[in-house]
Structure formats: C-alpha cells, structure tokens
C-alpha cells in the first residue's frame, strides 16, 4: 500500500508538469503525421493523399511497404523522436522528482512514516519511470494503431518499444538519481546525466566506428564475417569493448527494436530501393549481407542484461547514500 501510494503520488507530480502534457501533445501530432503516409494500389502518398508517388514496389499489400513503414517507425520515430528528444524531455520532467522529495521540510514527513528507506527509494524510482512509461505507451500505442490502419496488420513486436524505451530511459535516470541524492539539486542531476549520456553515446560511437573500420577492411579483403572478439582487437577496439561492456548501451535499443519488428536499417532500406529499381551493383549485395551481420552482432540479452546490471549497481550506490544520509 505504501509503495503504491508513492508511485501514485509520483504520477500526480508528473501530471502537474507542463512538460508532461506538451510531450503527450507533440507525440500525438507526430503520430498523426505518420498517419498522413498512405498506401494504395498505385503507390504511396503523403499528407493524406495530397502528394501521390506512384511505385510498383511501395504500394498497398506489398511486404516492401510494410518494411518502409516499420523502418520509419523504428529508425526515425522511435530512435530519433522518442529515443532522443523524448528522453531529454522526460529527463527534464523527472530530474526534479528526487530533489523535491529530499527537500528540507518534505523528506522529514515521509521518513517519519513506517516505511523503510529502501522501499521509499525504490517506489519513488518506479514512480518516476511512470512518466516515461505513460509517454512511451501513448506514442507507441497510437503509432501501433496507425500502422494497423495503414497496413492492415497488427505489428505486435512493435509493442516491445514500450519496455525498451523505459529501459533506455532508466539506464540514464539511475545516474540522475545518484546525482540527485548526492547533490539534492535538480540542475546538477540533469547536467551530470547529460554528461553521462554523452559519455555513453561516445563509447557506443567508438565501438561503431571501430566495427565499421573492421568491416571496411574485411570488405576490401572480400570477407563477410568479421571477428570482433577481444583477442583480435587493437587498442582502440579494446577500449571500446571495455567501455561498452561496463556502460549501458543506449544506442543498441533502436537496433534491438528494429530487429524485433524486422525493420531494415536506414542503409539497408536505401540498398533495397536500389535493388528494387534494378540499380544494385554486385558490391551492394555484399554490403547488404555485411550490414545484416553488423547489426546481428548485437545480442539483446547481453546488451540489456549488462545495461541493467550497470543500473542496478548505480541504484545500489544511490540507495546506500540515501539510507545513510541525515536530513
């Protein structure tokens, strides 16, 4: 009952923030923008049929049309809009949750209740994640329905985007909470989180660049398979490996989602278009295969598992600080 009360209270706090409603409204507009993409027997259209593009491939009922829509959703809407913009807005909205709870005059009342600090801490954390859960559920739910209307299929794996987006947010939010417990300042917590996100992003990029270099080298040698194991890495590769093994892997989330809904990556989509238009060169077939291999090397279990383990360690440190702190 007590934990539930804290969670409900956190949701009320979220609801009180203008950012919460602004993001919901923006998500609705963007989801409706997706609805303006339509397919008919002759091709596809934009702006509810105002701009028609004839295409024998991307038209109603073709698997390519489904691919295109799934890729837009996965690569643009989820990865860019919610995965970046949405997460930033959610961080702005929730960075103050812990500092507000820890304010002098507020925390005393809560701590004087018959509830352990651990339960209070975890309930507040879960309540804060509710902010992003509601946002993700609303956006994904809306776009899920729009995909059904446009393509006539229920793209069930797409619903995985909800827990994946919450997970992505939580990788960063745990750091925000740690900074908040330490500093009791929303601004400090937010700045620390942004710096951390930049660090995580950079670590992901280093790995990506390293892998790309290795794939290019393999391509030149005419090899599809690339060995990215520890033994075969140089110094840069080993650094990227360690950073990615320790830090949460935020950039894996869109890839994992794309894999689940069988959406093509942006590169694959372009290559597919070339292929369908008969412009594909022999080298491009090789590139498609390699791109698939590159994306397939991300193991969802390992990526999410190691990221959640990182989150657990950070939360443990934050809770330890919270439990020992005098207010």
């Amino acid at each position: 009952m007590q934990a539930w009360t804290i969670i409900v209270d956190s949701f009320r706090e979220a609801r009180d923030k203008k950012l919460f409603w602004v993001l919901l409204a923006l998500s609705t507009v963007i989801a409706l923008a997706l609805a303006c993409v339509g397919f008919d027997q002759n091709g596809w259209s934009l702006f509810f049929g105002l701009l028609k593009i004839e295409s024998p491939v991307y038209r109603a009922g073709t698997p390519q049309a489904q691919q295109m829509l799934a890729s837009i959703v996965s690569n643009v809407l989820v990865a860019m809009y919610i995965g970046w913009f949405g997460v930033i807005v959610c961080l702005l909205g929730t960075a103050g949750f812990f500092p507000t709870m820890l304010e002098g005059g507020a925390i005393e009342v809560v701590l004087s209740k018959p509830m352990s600090r651990l339960e209070l801490f975890l309930a507040k954390y879960a309540g804060s994640l509710l902010f992003v859960l509601v946002q993700a559920a609303w956006f994904v739910g809306l776009t899920f329905l729009i995909i059904r209307i446009q393509l006539g299929v229920w793209l069930w794996p797409y619903l995985l985007a909800i827990p994946l987006l919450v997970a992505l947010f939580s990788y960063l939010y745990c750091v925000c909470v740690l900074a908040a417990v330490w500093s009791r300042s929303a601004l400090t917590a937010l700045l620390v989180t942004m710096v951390f996100w930049f660090l995580v992003y950079s670590a992901g990029k280093i790995e990506e660049v390293y892998a790309m270099l290795e794939y290019n080298r393999a391509r030149e040698a005419g090899i599809v398979e690339v060995d990215l194991s520890w033994e075969h890495r140089n110094a840069l590769g080993k650094t990227a490996y360690v950073l990615n093994a320790v830090l949460p892997r935020t950039s894996d989330i869109p890839v994992i989602l794309g894999h689940e809904i069988q959406a093509m990556s942006a590169d694959e989509l372009v290559l597919q278009a070339f292929q369908l238009e008969g412009q594909l060169k022999p080298q491009d077939h090789f590139n498609i295969e390699q791109e698939k291999k590159r994306l397939a090397r991300i193991s969802p279990l390992r990526s999410i598992g190691s990221s959640l383990a990182f989150e657990a360690v950070i939360l443990l440190i934050a809770w330890w600080r919270f439990a020992r702190k005098d207010f």
């Binding site: 009952m1 007590q2 539930w4 009360t5 804290i6 409900v8 209270d9 009320r12 706090e13 609801r15 009180d16 507000t100 304010e103 002098g104 005059g105 507020a106 925390i107 005393e108 009342v109 809560v110 701590l111 004087s112 209740k113 018959p114 509830m115 352990s116 020992r324 005098d326 207010f327």
Partner: protein
C-alpha cells in the same frame, strides 16, 4: 520481554543521545529526556541547541551516533512503531500539486491507515482544523497558517499515541494559535502524549506539563513547570522607609534592592524571615511580602545565563540510579 517494554511509563525515554555532524559540530552531547504518557512536554532551547536534531533522531530522519531508549516502549528507530506516532516538522513543505484532502489520504496511506478509516479521519481532521472548505483546493494556494493547520491534521491522520510537533504555531495568527492550543489540550484529555519543540515560551507555558531546556547539546534543566518555576521563585518585600542605609546588611543576607523594594531570589523562607527581622529591627514597616512566580521565559533566560557562565551538564535521568 516486548510486553514489558510496552508497559513502560515513559512514552519517550531517551538515554545518552549523541550526534556529531561533519565538521565536528556536536549537536547533542549525551541527552537524556523522559516524557510521561498522556502529558504535554515542551522542549526549549536557543537556536543551535540541538532541539531539531533530537526530534529528527526520534523520527529516524537523522542517525544518532549513540542512542538508547524507547518510543512508546519500543527501541528508538523501530519503524513499525512510527505508525503510532504523528509528526509535524518545522518549515514543512507539502507537495503543491496535491489538495488538502489528497495529502491527508496519501500520508494516511503511508502511515498504514486503512482506506475507509483514513477517509473518515481526514474529514474529521479537516473539520477540526477548520480546513473543510479548502479540502479540495490545491496546496499551492494555501497561506502559511493554512499549511500549518493542514500539517497538524496530517500529524494526526493515524490517530497517533505520540504526537511530535516542531514549532506547531509558527506562522499561525492568534486565533489559530488558540485553536491549536485547545486541540492539544483536547488530545491530552484523550490520553495522547504530545512532544512540542518550540520557541513560543508563552504558548508552551499555557499547555505544557513538563519541559526540558536544551543548551549546547545538553539538557540544562528538566522538570514540571511547577518544579522549574518554584526553584526560581523570588520574594518581593515592600516597606515604608529607606532601604539604602541597610544595603550592605541586606546583601549579607542574600537580598537586593530593586525599584525601592527588597528582592530575595529562591524559595528559602528562612532567608526571607531573616531579612524581615532585620527590617523590623531597624524600625521599617513592612507593607507586604509577595512571592513572585517566575515565568517560563524567566526560567529560560536564567538557565541560559547560568549555563553560559558555568557550562551545561547532562540532565540526570528521572527515576534512574545515576
């Protein structure tokens, strides 16, 4: 064993409380405080005396370096027992997005009050604190006095046996203060124990049964109001005639001349009689002998003066062996 501790007479029995903050700031230096069940207890002290630290240790908000004792018969820090304690902190801040009714419901749930009971209790408390018409208004719109009334209501939402109030009348107008005073007396009548930490000495004097004066992290004085004020009693002797020629002899008998009257500090009637004998022997006519009861403020100021000059000592535990 648990049953035996539950039956202790003290609602609050704190022994040897010590707390040092980082920077070697000693907030509490071995404090003993006892509060009987069903009494209103006042904790006094100047700023920085350690009052808020003591209260926060009781409410598990601050960790003591050394703490023994019990609250309602259970060891200090027992979380389950907190369900029987109500607390109003100083300068409290409640979530501005909640209404008064929502706040009471939320805090009632945190105090493990069943849903049906807390709704009924919240309505009663809002009525009792004069907040019914504001029940569904967001706290952001409340005045300081209204916040204080709501704070008091939240401290009572779990129908606690022990109520700990830190500056309960802070920011409240005179009418509101009277309401709160009446509420406290009513709660005592219902068998509740009330622990008040306040600077409002006049307010405390009107309601408290016992007080402790905390100075520099130590209990300088502790006892019933009667005991504390009796110890500091002063007699005023009004005479017809000149006292000045007798100044030295009066001083020898521990008296002093104040505003043309003879003043004798303390409650020793022998000294008064000796001075009366002196006056009569010198042909002065005694008009009146008035015992003056010191106010709590006088006791407080006197204690601070004494402690600053000789240094505070830990209070002896009442009923204890030491």
């Amino acid at each position: 064993m648990a049953d035996v501790t539950e039956m202790t007479n003290w609602a609050v029995d704190l022994i040897g409380l010590r707390k040092t903050y980082p920077g070697r700031i000693e907030a509490l230096r071995g404090v003993n405080v006892q509060v009987g069940r069903g009494e209103i207890f006042g904790l006094l002290g100047p700023n920085g005396a350690g009052k808020s630290t003591l209260v926060k240790i009781m409410m598990t908000v601050v960790h003591a370096d050394q703490a023994m004792g019990t609250l309602l018969g259970r060891p200090l820090g027992n979380r389950r027992k907190l369900a029987r304690i109500g607390y109003l902190p100083e300068g409290h801040r409640f979530p501005r997005y909640l209404t008064g009714a929502q706040l009471l419901d939320s805090y009632g749930a945190l105090a493990k009050v069943p849903r049906s009971a807390r709704r009924k209790r919240a309505a009663e408390l809002l009525e009792r604190t004069g907040m019914t018409q504001w029940a569904n208004t967001r706290i952001a719109k409340y005045s300081k006095g209204m916040m204080q009334r709501l704070g008091l209501a939240q401290a009572l939402i779990n129908d606690p046996d022990l109520i700990v109030l830190d500056e309960p009348t802070d920011g409240v107008d005179p009418m509101g203060r009277r309401d709160i005073r009446e509420l406290l007396i009513e709660l005592r009548r219902n068998g509740k124990t009330i622990f008040i930490n306040s600077h409002m000495l006049g307010e405390l004097e009107m309601v408290c049964d016992r007080v402790s004066i905390l100075v520099s992290g130590l209990v300088a004085r502790q006892g019933t109001l009667g005991e504390l004020t009796a110890q500091s009693r002063e007699y005023r002797i009004k005479v017809q005639g000149e006292l000045e020629p007798l100044r030295e002899r009066i001083a020898d008998l521990k008296g002093r001349i104040v505003d043309g009257e003879l003043a004798v500090t303390g409650h020793d009637a022998t000294k008064v009689n000796a001075l009366i004998d002196l006056l009569r022997a010198n042909g002065l006519l005694i008009e009146s002998v008035v015992p003056k009861r010191f106010s709590l403020e006088d006791v407080f100021v006197d204690t601070l003066g004494g402690v600053r000059s000789i240094g505070a000592q830990p209070a002896r535990r009442q009923g204890g062996d030491d």
